[in-house]
């Protein structure tokens, strides 16, 4: 059974600081996704990581994937208040020709001014 674990679950950080969110998964997968969710809103796709060693950056966020370690990281550089949200990673799992996305429990990020 594929399990996806994120840590930390909660993160409170000062503006201007750097931090990393970790996403570990339990079985082989070459694809990992990061989403952002604002309170009461839907999920917004941030990054799609499709191969080992993939690195993508958008603004102050950078995501990477190490499929051998079954680990993805979401690095936040010089955090600003607008980054406050819940961040989810997800891995897709193929079963009998069907892909299912399994999500981590999320990391709730609060950036303090």
């Amino acid at each position: 059974e594929l399990k996806v674990e994120q840590n930390p679950l909660f993160l409170s950080m000062q503006e201007g600081k750097n931090y990393t969110i970790y996403c570990n998964y339990s079985t082989t997968s070459d694809r990992l996704y990061w989403y952002r969710q604002d309170p009461g809103k839907s999920l917004e796709s941030l990054f799609v990581l499709l191969s080992n060693g993939a690195v993508k950056q958008e603004g102050r966020l950078m995501a990477s994937l190490d499929t051998k370690a079954r680990l993805s990281t979401l690095h936040i550089t010089a955090a600003v208040h607008d980054l406050s949200a819940t961040y989810f990673c997800a891995v897709d799992m193929a079963t009998s020709g069907t892909y299912k996305y399994i999500f981590g429990t999320g990391t709730r990020l609060k950036v303090l001014a």
Binding site: Y33, D92, G97, K100, T105
Partner: protein
């Protein structure tokens, strides 16, 4: 640009009642999914569909059923609602199996 539309956006439902949550996409995506989101548990897959005419069970399928009569629609039915089904429900779709998923705005369901 609509993308994925869910209805209703919120609902209060008496226990034991039947309820169908609607989901429509206009992106011609083959795959569609239903998730429920509960505090501390993240998103859990209820049911999914590879393509029109086929469906499959996710992590938490009990008490729910789905149908996929055509590409665009993927309704989720609660045959007899129970309070533990109080949750926020998200419908999602993807173009390719395993590709990026796009989410609807969610349905907040309260079963009393």
């Amino acid at each position: 640009i609509a993308g994925i539309t869910q209805a209703p956006t919120s609902q209060i439902l008496a226990a034991g009642r039947r309820m169908t949550l609607r989901c429509t996409q206009d992106m011609r995506h083959n795959a569609m999914y239903w998730y429920r989101q509960d505090l501390g548990l993240g998103l859990r897959l209820i049911h999914y569909s590879n393509t029109a005419g086929t469906t499959g069970k996710g992590e938490v399928p009990d008490g729910y059923s789905v149908s996929r009569a055509n590409t665009d629609d993927f309704p989720l039915t609660l045959a007899s609602a129970v309070p533990s089904q109080t949750s926020v429900y998200f419908c999602a779709s993807s173009a390719l199996m395993g590709g990026e998923a796009f989410f609807g705005q969610g349905t907040r369901l309260t079963v009393v």
